[in-house]
């Protein structure tokens, strides 16, 4: 038996910034409203994020996706257990909990000029992005989300089917010699 793999297993590009496929990540979509989401966050063990925010605790991140949708991001093998825990906590509350770990994949863009890689491909205001925010936007022609797990590090999430496109796009934008020099 082999392990689950993303569309770009072990992909890594070292330009003026480094682009890496972070491997399969556990993800859970939670839909619900008001108190239901409060309960869900509690069950996941992470603070409920504000609008457009992402919170984290003990290796689990919780991202605001829309007024009635959250996304848990965790280790790949943990997702089914966390989903079960959340489902149990929500009980009869009207909600939808689905493990979606294979829907998306996550790239890490890091290095002193990592921001420049993103400035080239997304209309989102990278200056306004800070750790704690998740920005859902587009990267060139593909939908995606960007957040900063720590300073100078960006994580970019996209659909698995465009994983190769996203890696090629980010790598191209990180090509040495193409620094913006801002």
């Amino acid at each position: 038996m082999s392990d689950p793999v993303t569309a770009t297993p072990d992909a890594r590009y070292e330009g003026f910034a480094t682009v890496t496929d972070t491997g399969p990540r556990g993800m859970i979509t939670i839909r619900g409203e008001g108190e239901t989401l409060v309960k869900a966050a509690k069950a996941a063990g992470v603070d409920l994020p504000d609008t457009r925010a992402v919170t984290a605790k003990g290796g689990v991140q919780l991202a605001w996706m829309s007024p009635d949708e959250l996304l848990v991001i965790c280790d790949y093998p943990e997702a089914p257990a966390i989903a079960a825990k959340v489902e149990k906590a929500l009980g009869k509350d009207h909600s939808l909990v689905a493990v979606v770990s294979d829907v998306r994949q996550v790239f890490r863009v890091e290095g002193a000029n990592a921001d420049e890689v993103l400035r080239k491909v997304t209309p989102a205001n990278i200056d306004a992005l800070a750790p704690g925010e998740m920005r859902r936007t587009r990267l060139a022609q593909a939908a995606g989300a960007i957040w900063m797990p720590e300073a100078d590090v960006y994580e970019v999430m996209c659909f698995r089917s465009v994983g190769r496109y996203m890696f090629d796009l980010l790598s191209g934008a990180a090509r040495p010699g193409s620094e913006l020099g801002l």
Binding site: M1, S2, P4, V5, T6, A7, P24, T29, R31, G32, D68, Y76, H94, S95, L96, A98, V99, V100, S101, D102, V103, R104, E116, R119, K120, V121, T122, P123, A124, N125, I126, D127, A128, A140, Q141, A142, F159, R160, S161, V162, G163, R164, Y165, M166, D168, L169, G172, A173, R175, P176, G177, S178, L180, L182
Partner: protein
């Protein structure tokens, strides 16, 4: 003749000579040169020929306004036509060729056009090439294409080797222009705390001020500029970009910057161009002003240049336009040129001034320097053909005695036009200033944002303030107010100061001499690039053209690649005069972005080659690729159309795949099919509204085929629905329908049934799905191991969840081929692993992958419909005989009411039937069934059309389905299908049942 001079050239580095070639001839220039200054420095005065008359043309200007010096730059994959020599920085081994010349620049055959110039007036093409109609295509157009055209088109098979990219930028204040006005505005805005970006189109800061001289805050202008740039560069809230032109201003503070990153350092690995996509709260256009030519006879002879350009070449590059220069002007600035040349030790023949007296400070200096002033005079003619050899000087009116002077260069100044382009792009309005003879921005009618607020402000010469002291004050104020409007503060710092100079008003002279006859007016060029003369515009006026926009298109004035930067104002002034109306009444043509042409590649950015479009790949994509798949694009996905083996055609592969599936077992990558979860207490109710049949009664673990219609009743999507749990359903959609149907569901839930308790989730990409079909399908699944898939444990149209081959899996027993068939769904990250496992488990059973074409044919053999084949947005389920899937019991579903309308229920609707050709031939795709007689348009009446048609390898003949008038009532009848081969032959087909294979369904019931 133009030449290099000593002791001048602030922008060049004489210690770094660079080699370049023009029309194959080697020359040398210096680092810091433009191609134009290098050519002039090398004594090349003639650089091209004009578009229409092929007249010899030289360099006129020193910047973006240059109309003549366009060259083919580079060769092979690096060839780029229409490159402006004045904005091309010189680099080593630059290769340039002149344009619009044949066979050579010196001897050009097109020059005969000049001899017949009398017969090529304004609107010539419109007047001449009207009749006969056929002559246009076969005679006139080929001739014009041959004789016209500017640069050489690159080879169609060539590929641009460079890279390009975009960069998004967000700022409070965007300052366009890095001259002293732009720098002043930037400093004021930055001092107010705003985030500022400054764009300068050239490689250096300060614009033309260092050439014009003058002091700012008691410093030489060059020193002040250096200090200002250093200040700004040191500020965290300021971004400075050179070689970046502000190309356009658009709604909502959006602006485009065009950066020429490595045009001057080709091959260094950097991107060639970068397109800046900027969002600014406020935009300051400090775009300066452009000098206007004077319209005197022969003003296009090489050696006639803008006076400001003559100064620029001398001061910036140490290049003199000639050895004996005549200056002709109608304003104070022409004198500056005379002074600059005199100071450099060059011979100045004199200054011809249209004004009767000269009282300005510059004129006074010229007089003191001993330069000859010729007041109230005009240039009435230019001697020389390929280069100026002299000029004829008369009174301004052109009457009276004339004097000949010898000269090899003429520097002309017709006054200045503020660069209002970027102000105007988004609706900024202009006022005509009679005193300065210019259109200048009206600050009271600016481009406005969503709330009606101004978002563009002009600064310096772009506002119409031509003197240094007034320009700086205006720019400072522009920067202050922009910062404030963008949320910053009004700085209390003072504006930079410059001494006030005595300026004498300009005398507008639109035609020189003012009373020139028609012979002379035919030699006064307005638009150099498109060969439009004063006489052409006057002719257009006589022929009834009043609108400046119409005149522009009729005469082609301002329509060339320079977009009339030199010709616009002069042309509309001539038009106004011809129409006997004031200039503001004539108005200007529309200013549209980009300011100067930008490369298509910059617009494309990274979107080429592999990144042209995001390709959606299934988890098994690479495996298909490895076995030589023939791809079919389905939306952004690629699906395997067929898997040809060595020596096999695609058609042969399709047939093999079908036969193998029917006889043994086949496997299909079905991952692209949409998968949407619908969950909640009201999910059953919602499902019943979405689908035409009843979904709420479906048992848990069961599957049901369903149809979805739009509210207009038309069939929109289909697929198998699975009841996952008491309150949740899984809807399979078509590949193309995944996102569309999910949006459709959310639309109804969010906008109409917002109080229903239903959530949806699009989990299409969560699952890799593999279809396993064929008599040996069960054996393959059993070999994978992990689930009981016997007939009793897992009947047709059921579903179970568990493990297969050690992987978490969902298994559906559904069939689109008519065979015993399963679909395995595993998490996408394990899709490739499962594909390999199925291939291995199926090996002993002869498993082969099959593609979408085999799938299409097998479903057609079974008479199953395909969304997009049998449907086209005008077909309702009843047309397809799918009444069994339309609930009669349900009170409502989307499309129900529409389907009850009279024309939807009409018995005359075409309905789906099978079609069996009498001779086994395949009916062409999309063929129409023809009936008797013709319609009102004389076309053959039609009674139906083919929707799916294939060669069936199973039945060894052509099969088809089609929509036919009263089709189901005409079983056994033979109808005719038209062919498109032009012979009028028809294919005869018998109407039959849609199901061609295993009607009773025995194959799947095992």
């Amino acid at each position: 003749m133009s030449h290099r001079i000593d002791d001048a050239g602030r922008l060049i580095d004489r210690s770094k000579p660079l080699r370049f070639s023009f029309d194959g001839k080697p020359h040398t220039g210096y680092a810091g040169d433009t191609l134009a200054s290098a050519l002039l420095g090398a004594g090349v005065t003639m650089v091209g020929r004009s578009f229409k008359y092929h007249r010899p043309r030289g360099i006129v200007a020193s910047g973006v306004e240059e109309p003549n010096a366009l060259v083919n730059l580079g060769s092979g994959n690096k060839l780029e036509p229409n490159q402006r020599a004045t904005t091309t920085e010189l680099f080593d081994n630059l290769e340039a060729r002149s344009q619009n010349v044949w066979p050579s620049l010196a001897f050009d055959i097109g020059v005969v056009n000049q001899a017949i110039a009398r017969f090529l007036p304004a609107g010539f093409y419109y007047k001449t090439f009207m009749f006969p109609r056929a002559a246009w295509k076969h005679l006139f157009e080929p001739f014009i294409r041959q004789s016209a055209g500017l640069g050489k088109a690159p080879d169609a098979e060539g590929r641009d080797e460079d890279t390009y990219e975009h960069s998004y930028h967000h700022t409070d204040v965007l300052v366009i222009g890095g001259g002293v006005a732009g720098l002043t505005a930037a400093k004021a805005a930055a001092a107010g705390g705003a985030k500022v970006m400054v764009l300068e189109q050239e490689a250096h800061w300060g614009g033309r001020t260092p050439v014009e001289g003058g002091e700012i805050d008691g410093m030489a202008s060059e020193a002040w500029i250096a200090a200002a740039v250093e200040d700004l560069a040191g500020m965290d809230n300021v971004t400075l970009r050179t070689r970046t032109m502000g190309a356009g201003v658009y709604d909502h503070g959006y602006a485009l910057g065009y950066e020429r990153v490595s045009d001057h350092t080709p091959g260094d690995g950097r991107p060639r161009h970068r397109l800046w996509r900027i969002r600014a709260k406020q935009i300051v256009t400090a775009t300066g002003a452009l000098e206007r030519p004077l319209s005197f006879p022969g003003n296009d002879v090489p050696g006639v240049m803008l006076a400001s350009a003559v100064r620029d070449y001398a001061v910036n590059y140490g290049v003199a336009a000639g050895r004996r220069t005549l200056v002709v002007t109608n304003n104070d600035d022409g004198y500056l040129t005379a002074l600059v040349l005199k100071n450099l030790g060059l011979d100045v023949v004199g200054v011809v001034d249209a004004r009767a007296t000269a009282t300005g400070a510059n004129a006074e200096r010229a007089r003191k320097a001993g330069i000859k002033l010729m007041m109230g005079k005009a240039v009435a003619g230019v001697k020389g053909k390929r280069v100026v050899t002299g000029a004829i000087i008369t009174d301004l009116s052109g009457k009276g005695a004339s004097t000949d002077v010898e000269c090899d260069a003429i520097a002309m100044s017709g006054g200045w036009s503020p660069v209002v382009h970027l102000w105007s792009h988004c609706g900024g309005k202009l006022n005509w200033d009679d005193g300065e003879a210019m259109f200048r921005p009206d600050p009271d009618r600016p481009p406005s944002g969503a709330a009606g607020e101004a978002f563009v402000v002009t600064a310096g010469a772009a506002s119409g303030f031509l003197s240094l002291e007034k320009g700086l004050a205006d720019a400072h104020e522009a920067g202050r107010t922009a910062a404030k409007a963008a949320g910053g503060k009004l700085t209390r710092k003072a504006a930079p100061k410059a001494a006030e100079e005595e300026r004498q008003p300009i005398k507008p002279v639109w035609i020189m001499p003012t009373e020139a006859g028609v012979e002379k007016r035919m030699k006064m060029w307005l638009d150099y690039q498109n060969d439009v003369k004063v006489s052409d515009v006057q002719l257009a006026a006589r022929e009834g053209y009043q609108s400046v926009e119409h005149t522009k298109r009729y005469t082609t004035l301002g329509m060339a690649t320079d977009q009339g930067k030199l010709s616009n104002i002069n042309g509309l002034a001539v038009l106004s005069d011809a129409l006997g109306q004031p200039i503001p009444q004539t108005g200007t043509t529309t200013f549209r972005p980009p300011y100067t042409p930008i490369s298509m590649s910059a617009i494309t950015g990274e979107a080429r080659g592999e990144l042209f479009q995001p390709l959606r790949r299934t988890p098994m994509h690479h495996i298909h690729e490895e076995c030589g798949v023939n791809w079919e694009p389905v939306g952004h996905w690629r699906r395997g159309y067929a898997y040809p083996r060595a020596g096999e055609t695609v058609h042969e592969a399709v047939n093999r795949e079908i036969l193998n599936t029917r006889e043994n077992v086949g496997m299909l990558d079905a991952s692209t099919l949409g998968k949407i979860i619908v969950k909640g207490p009201d999910a059953g109710k919602f499902m019943n509204m979405l689908y035409t049949n009843v979904m709420s009664t479906l048992g848990v673990g069961k599957c049901r085929y369903g149809l979805m219609c739009s509210e207009n009743g038309f069939l929109s999507d289909d697929g198998v629905v699975v009841r996952l749990a008491e309150d949740s359903w899984l809807c399979h959609t078509t590949t193309g329908g995944a996102d569309r149907i999910h949006s459709h569901m959310e639309d109804w839930l969010q906008c109409e049934w917002w109080d229903w308790k239903v959530y949806t989730a699009n989990v299409t990409e969560q699952w890799a799905q593999i279809g396993v079909a064929g008599p040996k399908a069960r054996a393959v699944i059993e070999a994978l191991g992990g689930m009981d898939v016997s007939k009793d444990a897992m009947p047709f149209m059921t579903y179970q969840e568990g493990e297969l081959a050690g992987m978490p899996a969902r298994l559906f027993r559904i069939s689109f081929t008519g065979e015993l068939s399963y679909e395995i769904a595993v998490p996408a990250h394990r899709g490739a692993e499962m594909w390999e496992a199925v291939a291995k488990a199926g090996e002993p059973h002869g498993i082969q992958p099959y593609g979408t074409e085999a799938m299409h044919i097998m479903r057609a053999e079974k008479g199953f419909i395909m969304i997009g084949d049998e449907t086209d947005g005008t077909v309702i389920p009843q047309d397809l005989g799918l009444d069994w899937a339309i609930s009669k019991k349900k009170e409502d579903f989307l499309g129900k009411r529409a389907q009850e309308r009279s024309f939807m229920a009409s018995p005359d609707r075409w309905k789906l039937v099978g079609l069996r050709t009498l001779d086994g031939a395949v009916i062409p795709d999309g063929a129409y069934a023809v009936g008797d007689g013709t319609n009102a348009n004389g076309q053959r009446n039609v009674i139906g059309r083919v929707t799916s048609t294939y060669y069936s390898p199973t039945l060894r003949k052509g099969i088809a389905m089609g929509l036919v008038h009263n089709g189901p009532d005409r079983m056994g009848e033979v109808i005719d299908f038209a062919t498109l081969d032009g012979t009028g032959t028809v294919i005869k087909a018998e109407i039959c049942d849609t199901c061609f294979y295993d009607k009773e369904g025995a194959k799947a019931d095992v």
